[in-house]
Point group: D2
Chain length 432, copies 4
């Protein structure tokens, strides 16, 4: 009967402490919240166990959006470091560097809200609430520069808490709780999951799905990757998504990572994908020793924009002006036949694009940036890889395989970091 | 067959990345470790997934004690903040406070080892290794002041990671894995557990044991509390430990917290006891509504030392010089009969001791400091509470009940914090 | 990482014994199966561990339908009791009753296929295969009387194996594995579940779903019941199914069992519903003490058939011939207005139908037979309870509440069994 | 918090039905039990859900030993088949064999207590209670022939319920709940486990322990086997038990089954060992492919008794009368030096003993009977295998390795069953 009762029991455990909290009158939610924050930071916060933190979290979650934004502003304004105190401490250290002045300076640098957030985190849903709060904040940050330091504090805290060492790696299967599976449907960002039937197919015997979870975020994946087990390097996403499951058996030789999605907007800037892909390579190598090739099948989201927006002087010189005019003219790349006529040139341009870097020596394409920075190599460019409207408009339907070859990761990485060199297969080099 | 395979599988998953690590030659373990630290902090650290962190952790764990100490010294010396850079940043901020100078200052204040430790934590046993490392450090810190700033960094990191919001509250029972139960025997700090038979009795139906765990420390309790369910306020530890289990049934009215032990020396200074006791009060109230009284049965470790070492001028004036001489003379308090003759005076002295505070308004006795600071009250002083040699020599055999009354916690706490007032029962007040 | 690996590991454990089995050549699947059956029943069966059983199960599952039927016939013909041996044993006992002749007789009565089935059950999917085999058999039994004794053996075995003592009672929630939830959609027999959205609503906070499982049938519910928590005795199924979830909270006073479905055709004749409802009453009483009323909202599948097919002489005398003609004429009961005009009479007839019994003193209506035999009482008849086409045609849209009052179960049952008396509420009695 | 609450919750769920049971007055426990049995077998039994069964089980468990025996006698006498009814049915079938007479006969043969036991089994601890009841019965059966038919019924039922298909195979490790581990200490029948330290060593990395469980017997192993992973065929039990754990690593080549113990006396006659050993061979082959040799290290409990009690005419002719006198004389075999002088002869005698069979073609030694019947072969006889007093007195300290070679199991078995041939290694054959 095990798993039945847990949620009930946990809910039922009224935190007795709360019965005896002196509750702020609720006239103004923000004033009440401020008072709870002050109490939480005081000695009273320690004495109350988790009662004050629970109360504050419940109140925040019950606020309307305007008040939630107000609460975020409050954190930004009232619980920041004290500028004057910090100035004194900085001055003191500058004049007289040493352990004592360092300690004072160090304390003065840290905003009280860091401790406040750590105490809020003690509430049962504390971590989830803080992640949601940052999600709200990020929505506004472009227009609200006064939130930047608060965001720095939040990211600092969250990246410490969501350290790889605390993440749980799990396989997602059709036996996984539905409450988790529905999150996949919601969060899938690369190739939309069209309902439970489609989801089920993606979890069949010839597929794998893995995710990271954090112990404090129940039933909430942080990131997940979908993998197809095949016998060749897949170049087209359509067949891969639509083929019915193989009668199991067969010894797959190839693992195709065809989708990887981050789930928590509130954790933006904290990187999990790197770890996830490498762990999946390890796990599949162990479970299915016949698999020797690990590769993505990836979109190239920036290709067409680059093609048309690159100033003439930076344009590859193998493109004639007339070709360029054709490629830029509305409709050429959207038309299968016209595309086909220019296949060789387009492919060569794509190879050029994928291996081009910006002023900071990073690949131009954002997906390339992720995988190449992650020590993969550009293995193959696939014509007609994804004929959906979205991909036609992004990349003229081309897709690319990035290869994760365990024995080349270190070498690729050194070359990439030290020399800005992008690893490519001989086939791709052939285009260049 | 579920639980069989996990450990094997996890061990078996060789981190493929490691096969391709360029490993530092192992001539000098410290040099090798230093090189791994540098790599881990560089871009290479990100590319390697968790491989570098694993390698470093394995090497640290394989070092002899001298090298482990050497590694700690290395962390203290080579990965601390850069004093000159910090001086410049402090200077800049002092002269021109603002967001930009703040950001530079903030970065300069944080020692690189904080990031290093966060990366070490990515290894499978990373967290446990860091906790053990701090344990070593704390052993030396009294004689090694140069380790203090490193310790501050470690405590900062660990108290963020071991936030109450990440702890798992679990009941310990006879069904708990033996691998965990043996830890209780090892860690019990108040009343020694004399083997598995004794342990089993402490987990019988009329007892409870609860602990906090952290998801990253498998099978390692952080703190645990042992509780006896009774029908009266227990005053003697002997019978409580020795009585065979009640034929279950019976509706207990009282929960006696008779032992609470911290388990991880490496987490010293991070407080869990406060939360644990309050959660147990909540949980037992829910599970067994007949329980109305929650109380400890606690030792008074500092009583006799206080009695004999208090300078004459601070001595309570109700003690005559001759009585004092008798109490101080070797043997009086160690002798049951002689003790008995002075019972009234000794009890009164004990009440005085328990309610006395030091210059910072904190109770003199360390156990009193914990429970009273945690909002309990002094309920009853028990003559012949614990007649073991250890307790006779510490407290002339007296024990005390601290009461946790949910409806008085807030009030007690306010009085304690604001006025330094210690909550006492009328009975105890009668002695004063 | 726990739950990832189990299925793989279990599959991977090749039963080594199988590698060394002398496998029957597969020319004729039935001949091969027969040889495996003989081996399994011989000493060889014991020596092979589970290898022979696995082989046989795999072969049966791989057969086409005709061969599966052939295998069932084989069980019926070749592994039945030996009539001549039994005749001798019966004769011997009849002439000379005693322990020795009894033992011989007892052995002679049991068909060898009982032992054969017990040995087949040793295979990993043995139990599931036997349940499926009986499902096939039951499809044919009406036209195949020679399978009756085999069916008796199967039911005997299965009802021993699926004894209540071996069933696992579990709550089904949205956290339940999707692999189980999809079975609910498949097996729901009373009110169709229209996709995952509908299912999710039925598992919301103001609903409950419970099921029995058997340890040998993974992810396969045997029976499940759906319950709505409300504040009144629901009389209409439409609103109950369609209302969006209550914002939780609220203290429900009433549990409405609105659907109960058996899942395994192959377990027909083995009763679980009785136990399930009573266990749910116990569990909900414990979890939600505010619930005081436990009632079904049930269809009345036989009402209209009874109305029109009852011979004139058995017709209730309060129905005039003209009324009867109206009720029987096509269209009257299908028309809401016409129905409405005769509401009082129809309701009275329904009350009469529900409390009428057949020659064996059992209620006429099959659903009534189940609940009343299970000690419930007829609480209320609901006009316009279910306006779906199906229910209009079965029961003119009427539904009924059967009440499960824990304190009346024994009394109701005695009255029902001893006197054939059906328990009814005063309101229902008022109609009679 | 998961695992905390289950036992409480399950206990707390008072079976509401029980509150309304008319309880037999408890004047005579046996009369009360009889009345509960009658109710349970009647329709009332079905209506009560599991309430009556619980009541009966609780009462049985609360009885003193005399009453428990009385209850067993009651089952034997009052709930047996009806001899007269059976005689009629047998007669009818003998005269007129056919489906109808068969069905009547079949029902008449089965004692009502089979159904009664199946209903008792519905109580929460029903299965465990029935197993314990049979244990009591077996203690008396030698002097109580009237219990034999009851025992036949019990064994029939239990062997159906404890079918291999329902057993759960689990690895026992140091992480296993202490409540299970203490059972190993209790049940170990071959080499006593001397406390928790000894147990822990037997669960170290270079050891394995596996058990069968049944879902209805919580925390109760049915049988377990202890295995040492080594690099040679162990011949001495002492070093094997005493050596401290290998620093893990090392790739073991050999698995030594050094102890196998049945745990439930009440399941005597139901064989699990055969399945367990074969499953362990499969599992270890899978987990540790370096292991190629699977062998026991077994005692020879009947050797000395055979040596001294075999009548002269059956004595092997290679033993001279004087040798025989020496071997029989008190003290020769108990003395290490004297034993040593006759080593060759003793070993030859032992080989002869191990390969000798009785009139039913079964090995004389009970342990040999088990392993050879289970298709193992006699691999090696070990001098000074076990120098404990017990083994000296049983087998002059000799032990034997039985080899389980997956590729010889079928062959060994055929030879054993068809020709009574015992498989031996060439080394052992050399002695013969």
């Amino acid at each position: 009967m095990g798993r039945i009762w847990m949620s009930q029991v946990i809910d039922a455990i009224a935190d007795l402490g709360r019965n005896y909290l002196e509750r702020p009158s609720s006239k103004s939610p923000l004033k009440a919240a401020k008072r709870l924050c002050d109490d939480l930071l005081s000695d009273r916060g320690e004495a109350s166990g988790t009662a004050l933190a629970r109360e504050l979290v419940d109140r925040y979650l019950a606020m309307d959006e305007a008040d939630q934004d107000g609460f975020i502003d409050l954190l930004a304004s009232d619980y920041s470091y004290a500028a004057d105190k910090l100035q004194n401490a900085a001055s003191a250290y500058a004049q007289n560097p040493g352990d004592d002045t360092y300690r004072v300076l160090r304390n003065a640098v840290e905003s009280p809200r860091q401790e406040l957030l750590r105490r809020i985190n003690m509430a049962p849903d504390g971590t989830a609430t803080i992640v949601k709060l940052r999600e709200r904040l990020l929505n506004r940050i472009a227009e609200a520069p006064h939130l930047k330091t608060l965001d720095t504090d939040l990211r600092h805290l969250l990246s410490s808490w969501f350290n790889r060492g605390f993440l749980q790696f799990e396989r997602i299967e059709w036996r996984t709780p539905a409450a988790i599976l529905e999150k996949l449907i919601t969060y899938e960002a690369v190739h939309e999951i069209k309902g439970w039937g489609d989801l089920r197919r993606r979890l069949a015997d010839d597929r794998r799905c893995f995710a990271f979870f954090h112990p404090a975020l129940t039933d909430e994946p942080l990131i997940f990757v979908e993998v197809a087990l095949t016998n060749e390097l897949s170049g087209q996403i359509g067949p891969l998504l639509d083929t019915p499951p193989e009668s199991s058996g067969g010894n797959p030789t190839t693992a195709i990572f065809y989708s990887i999605s981050n789930c928590q907007t509130g954790l933006a800037g904290i990187s999990f994908g790197n770890f996830l892909i490498k762990q999946v390579v390890d796990v599949l190598s162990q479970e299915l020793p016949t698999i020797k090739t690990f590769s993505t099948l990836s979109p190239i989201p920036g290709f067409r924009r680059w093609l048309t927006s690159t100033p003439a002087e930076f344009r590859p010189d193998f493109v004639s002006d007339s070709d360029f005019a054709a490629l830029s003219s509305s409709g050429t790349l959207d038309d299968a036949d016209k595309r086909s006529e220019m296949k060789k040139l387009i492919t060569k341009l794509c190879a050029t694009y994928l291996t081009s870097t910006n002023s900071r020596n990073l690949p131009l394409d954002p997906v390339a940036r992720f995988h190449l920075g992650n020590s993969a190599s550009v293995e193959r460019i696939n014509w007609d890889g994804d004929l959906s409207d979205k991909r036609i408009s992004q990349s003229a339907g081309l897709m690319v395989n990035y290869l994760y070859a365990p024995d080349q990761i270190v070498g690729n990485h050194e070359a990439f970091v030290n020399e800005g060199k992008i690893a490519t297969s001989s086939k791709v080099r052939g285009f260049l």
